[in-house]
Symmetry: C2
Subunit: 181 residues, 2 copies
């Protein structure tokens, strides 16, 4: 491959581990993508669609071709679901991402907390691997979350394990605006 | 301490380790701080002042009370310096940060790649510890870079070690726009 080909090779990146920085680092990458003028899609598999982060507000202020969606809401990390069908919602969310990747909707994709529906078997790992492998054009995909399934790690180009050395939550501190969201 | 006090307790965070995501995660935190309407100061101890990242362009587009400066330029990670006095430049850069912290110039500080001048003894670790410990008001400080000196880690509230599991550079790929800068 030529240098140019290498430089434009689409990558799959995974930010996993129990430490902080998985989502924030992915959002930092999204900023870089935005600055290149790329279409950016952020799809968050989050507990509640009402959860609105500072990052989302910042991207709304930036403008440009940015899509920011909450997918498959209603589940929680403890699996104590409040929604009627969080599994179906997650599956539907992934279905839309799959269609978007086939249509090359974005050049930069952030699938935030996507490891949870994968780890729980709500979304098929094999199907995700196939969609990533077959994706057309130059689409970068960043997946974040704890306990990333090994086949996804094996298929990724760039994997970082965020390891907590020290965390204020373990010292009795609560989350706070501007730092945790 | 009350919940409110805990929630507004200023923190020192360190992103260290050989993996990706140290700076990008800190920039993501800066976005959150920006979204809170806080004054944000990003001070990068970088090789060259000409190095302009996508993040910087994005913050310029966001506007608000954001300062983004390159401090103590001219050194390199390999210590093969090109500038006349990179050590003096780093020291001067730190001096301005120290004054800014005393004056409560920002509510959120990002001292990017600051571990290098610390690790090389260009900036005194003890002096930095004192400035952090004595800082007035509610100023959050995030320090990034490899090989963070242990006393800084000991003094920090939140420490994440970014561990590389897989990196495209180790597989022959070059850095690329939108991903690496």
């Amino acid at each position: 491959m030529s240098t140019k080909e290498l430089r434009s090779r689409p990558i799959v990146a995974v930010h996993t581990g129990d430490g902080k920085g998985k989502t924030t680092a992915a959002v930092g990458m999204a900023l870089r993508a935005w600055a290149q003028g790329w279409s950016v899609g952020v799809y968050q598999f989050v507990k509640s669609a009402k959860w609105r982060t500072g990052e989302q507000a910042a991207f709304a202020a930036l403008g440009g071709d940015v899509t920011w969606e909450k997918m498959g809401t209603g589940w929680s990390w403890s699996r104590a679901h409040t929604a009627t069908d969080p599994e179906g919602a997650a599956r539907e969310g992934w279905g839309r991402i799959r269609e978007g990747i086939a249509a090359q909707r974005h050049r930069f994709w952030l699938l935030d907390e996507f490891t949870y529906p994968l780890a729980w078997g709500w979304v098929e790992v094999d199907e995700v691997l196939e969609v990533l492998r077959e994706r057309p054009g130059t689409q970068h995909v960043v997946i974040t979350g704890r306990r990333c399934p090994q086949p996804i790690i094996d298929a990724a180009d760039l994997v970082t394990d965020m390891v907590p050395v020290k965390h204020p939550f373990t010292q009795g501190q609560r989350g706070q605006a501007g730092i945790e969201w």
